[in-house]
Symmetry: C2
């Protein structure tokens, strides 16, 4: 199995990206194909030439940076001749020369490059970025969290189908509970989009548990949470910001307080540490972009080597269980006119 790692992705690239890829090659026995400028990545990789790992470097002279956006970004992503590390890497999986692509680069850049170069799966109109979110009882998958700020009801139905398959096959959740993010639990609550999606999900045959509020999401009551990319993005970033504010305030208060509180701070440090870990997205490494015609994983710019390694682990597993084919089949089935009524029958909730 061959996994492409964007060596020019993370904020502090190429070191964490290369180190993470090497860790993954060693730990999971996969072949890692780094993409990036050989003048920059080559020297970082060179000391490991004698490690006997299955690793190679494919040259890509350019990068999509955090500053790339709008039309310029679209042009870079579309260009016939691939030059950026993202385009070179994604073309490798397009040509079947690798099975999955992992990057910690510009999220919009990863989404645009994947859209333009791979296209979407047959019948899929919009792809969705589906990160794993920490909850009181474990984790859940939320999609979309940023690929599409404006969505139609049918898009969210497809997100639910894709998210369920991903949760079931890659995250090994049996009959994943699908919740629709809303401003109230009762049916009928929500904005227009939510009110239109609700009956589609209720008739979908999925294990739809109805509307969920943030409290239920964080309480761990759903395995898959469906929302438009604007709302999902606000939810994700609010969580990060509030957690950051609390942990930082806690640190400050302990630091500036009495010597007793400082001592107390030292003693609760392990508790704080494990809390940080629980809230840390690097455990899951990266979010899959579900719905494009290839396995693409996009991680946080802050990713360290551990996060990159974990992203490769998840990508590796997604290839093994062939989640792409399952999604392709299920979308095709959900769109075939014959399947619809039959599926609806099984969806009637007791």
């Amino acid at each position: 199995m061959r996994i492409v790692v964007d060596a020019m992705g993370s904020d502090r690239c190429p070191e964490p990206d290369v180190a993470g890829g090497l860790l993954a090659a060693r730990e999971y026995g996969v072949e890692i194909i780094f993409v990036g400028d050989e003048k920059i990545v080559g020297p970082v990789l060179a000391p490991h030439a004698s490690d006997h790992l299955s690793v190679k470097l494919v040259h890509a002279p350019e990068v999509i940076s955090m500053e790339d956006r709008g039309l310029a970004l679209a042009l870079k992503a579309k260009r016939l001749q691939p030059k950026t590390s993202m385009a070179v890497g994604i073309d490798l999986i397009k040509r079947g020369e690798a099975e999955a692509f992992v990057t910690a680069g510009n999220t919009g850049g990863g989404v645009a490059t994947a859209y333009f170069r791979l296209g979407t799966l047959p019948g899929v109109e919009r792809a969705a970025l589906a990160p794993v979110f920490p909850t009181q009882k474990g984790t859940c998958v939320i999609l979309d969290i940023g690929a599409n700020p404006d969505c139609k009801p049918e898009n969210l139905l497809q997100f639910a189908v894709m998210g369920s398959i991903y949760a079931e096959q890659v995250r090994q959740v049996k009959q994943p509970r699908v919740g629709l993010l809303s401003n109230g639990e009762e049916a009928g609550k929500g904005n227009q989009l939510v009110r239109e999606v609700y009956p589609l999900l209720a008739a979908s045959g999925l294990n739809f548990i109805g509307n969920v509020e943030s409290k239920e999401v964080i309480g761990g009551e759903a395995d898959v949470v469906v929302t438009d990319g604007f709302t999902g993005n606000i939810m994700l970033k609010t969580s990060e910001a509030v957690a950051g504010l609390i942990l930082e305030t806690m640190r400050q208060k302990i630091k500036s307080a009495s010597v007793f509180a400082k001592l107390g701070g030292l003693l609760v440090k392990p508790a704080l540490q494990s809390l940080r870990q629980m809230l840390d997205p690097s455990e899951e490494g990266a979010a899959p972009l579900l719905g494009v015609n290839g396995l693409v994983f996009i991680g946080h710019g802050r990713s360290d080597a551990q996060a990159i390694k974990n992203a490769v682990r998840v990508a590796h597993h997604a290839v093994e269980v062939n989640v792409l084919n399952s999604i392709r089949d299920e979308i095709a089935r959900s769109l075939s006119p014959a399947a619809r009524p039959e599926r609806s029958l099984t969806s009637v909730q007791p």
Copy 2:
């Protein structure tokens, strides 16, 4: 000055509601008119008859409960003869027999009753619920957080006008910085609504600072944050849920850890306590419903006596500065054709 307090509002009514109203009567020297069932509220109020406070009780035989919703709620809110404590209380301010109404009851019930009985200010299409939100540097006002899940660009422009006046006059913020909640800071980011509101705000003459993400909001970079009621609600509830998860996990971890960590927990308790206080919405008591033709404040169902007292304090201040008239005048000015171009001139940012 006369402030109406819904004695049947909070989850544990009538005790906290009555106690809070009495505290406010004593501390601020305002007249408090309680509304509620005299058989229930009377006995709670009776022991204070000799306190020489300016307090009275107006009978309302019914309540809008947390279970009231949809059409049944609308019918209760609209009924010609007021029977619920909310309708009786709001009719008092409508008839000029009191200056403001405070409730910790069902939010949807408060919004619907105010809409139907008071109507909106001339030119205002939608009212907005505008709570105060804790930030790293203090607080900001976010609106709307739930009165209208679906908004048009013009609604958000009016929210910005009303929120600015409220921040300036009631919260004493000079030239409040207005941010538009979005999934990215750059102009052009956002869903369709945000992209359409942006130029309206830029030309409004308000101190518009552009798009803001949750990180900037929580970092304290805006005084007024404008969003639709669906997104605002998700943001508010996500903050509450994440803060709850972190503080609860912290408590659990300390409890179940070594004796040293337990000791540490005791020592950091004051720090945790002050963090809780910072995140506690009861400091501000209640959120104004801006845009209706009267001063209505709606607080959290969990409100205690302190929160009710604080809500009366804020309502009292809003009456003193006559914020309702200022909003009425500013909305009228913003709608007059002559005013528009002149205001646009002053809005050009350097």
